[in-house]
Structures are given as structure tokens and as C-alpha cells.
Amino acid sequence: MKKTILIFLFLTSLYGSISFGQVPGYMGKRCILKANIHGMPITGFLFANEKPLDFNFKFSVGMDYVISRNISFGISAEQVNDIILLNKLSTTPIGQSYPAAPTTFKSAANFYGYNLGANMKFFLNRSSGALAPFGRYFVIEYLKNYVTVSDDGRYYASGNKQINTISTSTILIGMGSQKILFNRLVIDTNLKYGVNFYGLTRIKASDTRIDFDPVYAACTSKMFSDYLFTLSVGIGVLAF
């Protein structure tokens, strides 16, 4: 997987160099280093029993590189650190094949991990005159999610015990706008709709784990709602 990513990165930067003649970037600069914050209220409330104004913030750092007149390619690393609410308490330890009878006791667990992402931004040259990296764009992003759910004493009452691990993928599409101030500072805002493959299983009626595994149910709801709709605000700098 790493080799694939490295080869892809090499090819895109090579393409950028070859097409230098017509790749202006922003006054010749094509690389942006930035930090972002992502989140969205309401969706957690609707799908994951969270509070209405719970933003589920995630932080990421990344780099965007302009590879043509209206395309830029970016990579990011995102940190996830949240709490997941569990509707029903289950005393079934991990690994036990049969589910235990659920109770109505409400609990919570830590929900943390990281995501690695790659995105392509297509700047809307024809409709709005954007030139990468300035202006409005359409973005498509792929995230590889690595999340761990662990008990902090509220589930098993024993503290720091891993309940679940999730390794999944998310595809997001959306639109945004990148502004450049003082010829250096980059402000990036975008709105994305996402589909998380793990979260998708939430809606599969035939999957019986939802009814009998509250952790699984809560995780699917969480993953589904977290990436369904994301508002991102980033601040960056034009490096070179």
C-alpha cells in the first residue's frame, strides 16, 4: 500500500514538473502546508445519540500541491479523539461469540484514532475563473480510518480496555473555496458529504449485530454520522 502511495505521489509531482509551462500556481508557488479543523453538529444528534451541538471536532495537517492549472493533489493526517455513547450496556467481553442480554443502562467509551487521506481538488476554472490553488473547487477525498474504541471504566468498569477496533475507508465529495491573503496565507473552507463503509452497515437491515452488539451499533452510527456531512476550515501557508 505504501509503495502504491509513493509511486502515485512521484507520478503526480512529475506530471506537475513536466507541465510547468502552464502551471502558474499562485504567483509561482504550488505547495501549501496547512492545518484543518473538521466537524459538524446535528448529524450526531440525529444518528448517534449525541447532543445537538456536539461538533465532533477532528484536527488534521496536510499538504496540497498544484499539479495543473486547475487541479491540486493533497494528503492529510487526521486525529480522531472523541467519546462514543452506548445505549445499552453489555457485559460480553470481546471475543465471546454469543451476545449477552442487553440492559438499558447508558454508558460511554473512548473513541480515538487517526485517518490518512488523499484528495484531489478540481478548481472551477470555467464557471468561476478559479486557478489552483485560489478559488472555488470541487473536492473528492479518500480517507483510511483507523479507530479504536476503548473502555475508560464506564463499560467494563476496569479502565482502558480495548472494546473494538475499526479499520475502514471513507469517500467524501464536496465543494469549497480557498482564499489567499497577503500573498502567503491560505484560508480553506469546504463542505463535504461522505460515505463511510463501516457506517454503511448500520443501514443493513439483515445485519443482526446491530440488535445484539451495542458497541457495534454505536460504532456504525458514530462513523456514519461523523462523515455524513463535514464542515472543514483550514489555515495554511504557501510554502514554495
Binding site: 502552464q22 509561482g28 486557478l131 478559488g135 465543494m175 500573498n183 455524513l228
Partner: protein, 698 residues
Amino acid sequence: MKKLQNQYILVIIISFLPILCFKTLAQNFDNYINIKSSGEIPADFLGLSSSKFKADKTTISKEEETYLKRSKKKFYLENNFLVDELLHNGKVLYNDPIGIYVNKVLDKVLVHKPELKKQIRVYVVLSDIVNAYATNNGIIFINIGLLAKLENEAQLAFILGHEVTHFEKNHVLNRFVLNEKIQRKKIRINYSDSNVESILFSNTTYAKDQEIESDIESTKLLLGTLYNPKAGMEVMKILASDIPLKDTYHFTPSFFSKETSLHITFKSIDFDSLKYTEDLEADSKTHPALSQRITTISKLFDSLNHNKSYFILPQKDFFTIQKIAQFEVSKIFLKKGNYLYAFYCIYELLQNDPNNAYLNNLLCKTFYLASKYRNSQDQDNLNTTTSNTPKEIQFIAEYLKQLSDTELNILSTYFYLKTYPGEETIVKEIRLRDLLYDFKFIYQDNEENLEHIPNGRTTIASIPFVEKYLNSISEESKNSFTVDNDGLVLANKKKSKTGYAKIDNIIILDPVYKKFDLRRKTEEKFIASEKSLLIYNEQIRKISNQLKIRDTIVSSVGWTKNDTLAFHNHSLFKSQVEEVLTNGSQIISTDFELVDTTCNGYKSHHLALMGTYSFHIQKSPVVKVFVVIWTALVFPTFPIGLYYAVTPSFKTYTYLITLNCRNQAFDYKNVRLLKYRDSMGAINSSMYYQLLKMKKGK
């Protein structure tokens, strides 16, 4: 003896003094050189318009009513910016021979009002329009077209008196304030009110009253001087006619054939049957009927008892200035593509001075222009005559129409060869080559006109004067007529190719930056535009440096009083661009040679036009509400709908167009529409891209 010698020396010196005095107005018309500004640039042309506005704002009294203060502030803002735009349009002259003379006449007019004279500056404008106008800040513009028509000094004095009165009585400001009042009243008036018409038209009536008042005051001014006040009435009669110069020498069609030995039979045109109305009764929106004005003026004095002079200054000076104006206006018509009017003026002037090199040069260029229009078969709207065209011009047009394409081209070629008999400089011959190239194809396609060629010869080369010319040039030039030894390539001769050459050396002419807020009544944001322009110029320099593009900005921004050369070049380049845009890039411009020489000084032949126009647009409230409701229904899109409703709408156009002064082709054109506010980021991004593309070529 020694005393007597000294006396003789003194007499000799004194006798030479008048010659020295007349030196400023002595004009060598045989080798006429177009007038231009000289000396230090006056303060009116310098400085920022916003600074002038701030200075004018301080004159508004705090005790005045609010609406009046607001109207005055708005007036000063618009007035200062628009007057500066006029001063920087490349057509206004200062310290030129005509301007100096006009100021002397003004001295005579205002002999009893020296304090008023100190507040007034008069500038001559290189425009064929018959007009003069005064601004609120004491500047009087007088067009060359008007000066060319005047017959004596007293008429000029009357016009200056008229304009001075507009300034003295604050007519321009008062009219503006009244207009503002009417605009406000318009919103509140009840349309069933029977008085609504008089309110709506009171602005027009007021303007006419002001004109009458200016006529009266000007006549009173003349009555206080030695000028004959009848001049005012004569001016009205002159203004009634649209003819650019007095028709002294009636045109005859033998002019076309007498020297060329072309056998052309013209159908005779009856001059009197041509339709044209010299309408003294015509009433315009802002000026009363001329007959009314004549009547008003005549009541002010007893015409039988006024035998005052029409000249106070030496008569010769006036006629020199008149001739200069007529020479200049001929060229102005040519530059505007109006070859009929140009031909009329040149014909009139040539009758007095048939061997005048300048006029013959202009005549060549006029025929060249006429031929080019005919050869291209483009719709020649400018030279179409109507019943509003003076009869004298219609008369010429009717005869020109009778010439076939071949005959017209032969005539044009003949006049060119007559003026430039040998292969002098390549640049002088460029129009001739262009004509011969066109002619080659027209001649070949139009065999039925061959009977006009002497001795029935059938080839272009066999026309005697053409044959002589062809014998004098190289074999290579004979066949192609497209490329000369200096690499001057005529744009219309090249096959059209996609792409453009790399350009890394440009002369940027007057970068433009305009901001508009279309939601407001006063749409143009003058002060913001000016501020943005200053930053824009700096950014152009920065980006050009970064891209290693050698650029020179020729702009009115930042002139100092010693920038006379920059002033001239600015005017020259502006007129060149205007001419190419008017007449097309297929027609070699009138000042091609001068522009070429000037560009050599800048080491670049690419004139770049760059600018930004930004519009803040009102979004329709209905659309906004609809979008919000729709996106709320389709919930996940609601933030987008909200964003659309809340954010303003902008459109920003940035452009970069380069004109190759060597072949008059627009080498590179790039116009970009950005649907954003004109932030520095947006402009820089777009500008960098445009300059990079221009540099890299395609």
C-alpha cells in the same frame, strides 16, 4: 558718431523684436509637424483625483442644508474624477501654440476681470467635435474642431466669454444640484399630478436658461472690450452647419483623373439636389434653438452702431492658428476612419497650397484608407452619407462611389507613388505595398474594369507609374509585397495560425482599475478604484519582475511636472490603440512610423492593455428566498443555501491584451471572468497566469 552708431544698432535690434515675438506663432506649413504640448506639465494634470476631491469638499459650508451638502459632495466627487479622466485621455494639450494664443484672447476678453482670469485655465482638445465646455474648477476645454471652423478672433472671444460665464455662475454645479432634487422629487411625485411634466422637464429648461444667460453675459463681456459683439450671432450660424471647414473651393471630379490619365467618365451630380437641412430651429435637449439664441444676442446691442473690430491681436496670428487647427482636424478625421471628411478638409487646404508635403502625405493616407475599406468589403458605416451629412461631403461621396474598385486602387497607388517616388524608407512604403498586394487580387478578379487602363494593358505591372515603381525595387519585394527587409510583416497577409509568439518585453499602457457597486445609484466607486489602481500598478511591477518580463508602465498615475516625454508618449500610444480599434488591424495607422520610432526607444513593440473591472451585484431577493427554502427541504444542502443567501455576488473581469505595433495584430488576448470579489489574491492569481501565458507563448 558713436552715439549715432548705437542708435542705429538699437533701431536694428528693435526692428527684429517683432520677428522674435512672432516666432512662437510662425509655423512652417510646408514641413508641418503636428502640434504637441511643451514645458512643465500643469498641476491640473497631476495629482490624485481623491486629493482634489478632498480639497473641494472643504469648500462646502456646514450651515447649508443636508440635501445640498450631499449633492455638492457627490458632484465634487464625480466632477474631479471625470475631469481627470478627460485630462488623461491623451487628447488634451497644454502650452501648445493654439493654447497659448487662446489664452491671449482670453486675456482680452477678461481685461476688466483679472481676478477671474487667474482662476481659469484653457486647454485645447484634439477632437473634431465642434464644442467647448467649462468645468466647475475653472478649466475650459476647447476642441480643435471648433477652432477650425471659426472665422475671426471675435468669434473665439465670444465662445470663451460663454464658457467663462458657465464657470463664473457655477452653472455646472447648479444644474447637478437641481437634477438631484428632481430625482428625489420624481420618486415622491404623484403621477396624476398635472404639473409632473414641468417637473420632469425643468432640468432641461434650466440647462437652456443657463445657455441663454451665458450668451447674454458673453455678449456683455465683448461690449466691454474692443471686440465686435456681432461675433456671437455669427458663431450661431457657424454652429448650425456640420461642415468641418468653410467650402471655399467646390470639389470637382476632375481631381481624380487629371493627373493619372485614367479615362473615367463620371455621371454628373447636381449639388442642389442633395438633401441636407441646416436647421437653425432645431432644439436640442440642453441648448435652445440657434435662432432663439441669435435673437437674444441681437437685442443686447444696436447692430447698426457697432463697427468694432473682429481682431485685437495681430490678424495673422488668428489665421495661423486657424490653419493649424484645420491641418490637425484633417488628421483627426483620418485617424477616426472618417475618410470622407478628411478628404474634404485636405482638398480645401490643398487648393491654397497644392505642393504642401504634409497635406499630400495625408491625402495618400486618405486614399489608402478609402481603398482598404473598399477592398475589405466591410460595412463602412462611418463613411455612409445620410441627409444629416453636409452636402459638400455627400457630393464627394457620390463621386467616390462611381469609382470602381480597380480605379480607386489605381488612384490610391498613384497618389502614393507621386508622394514617395523612390524607394526611400521601408516604413514609408508599407502602405503602398499593402495596397499593391490588395490590388493584385482585385485586379485579377475584376477584368471588366480593364477598359479604364491606358492602352488596354492587362497587368498591374503594366500601368506606367506602377511599372516604374516596380523597376526600382528588388525582385523579392516585387512578388510578395508582404515582408520587407526589416521584417515588418503585415498581419493580414499571414495565414491565421492558432497560437502566439513569446512576449517578454512590453509597454503597459495606462492600466485600468474600476470598481462598481450596481446596488447603488452612484455605481462607480471612484475613490476605491483609485486606491486599488495604485496597488495594482505595484503588483504589475512585482509580478513582471518575478516572471522576468521587462515592462514599462506608461500611465498618467504618478506623473511629475517634468514628465513631458512620458506625457507625449502616453498620448501617442493611446491614439494608436484607438485608431487600430476603430479602423481595424488590417489598416496601417496614420502615425505608424512615429509609433514605430517611439517603440524603438522603449525597446519593445508590444503595447499591453491591462485592467480589472469589478462589479458588486445585487442578488434577487426572490431567488435568495427560494434557494434557502429549497436547500432547507433537502436538508444536507441547507448550509449551501444559507451561504448563497448571505454572501454578496461579485463579478470581476481581468484582461491582458497585447498589440504588436509592428504588424498591428493583437498578438495575445486573455479576458478572465472571476466570480469573486476583487481581492488581492484573486487579482494576483489571474494576473500572474495571464502574464505567464503571454511569456510562454503557444
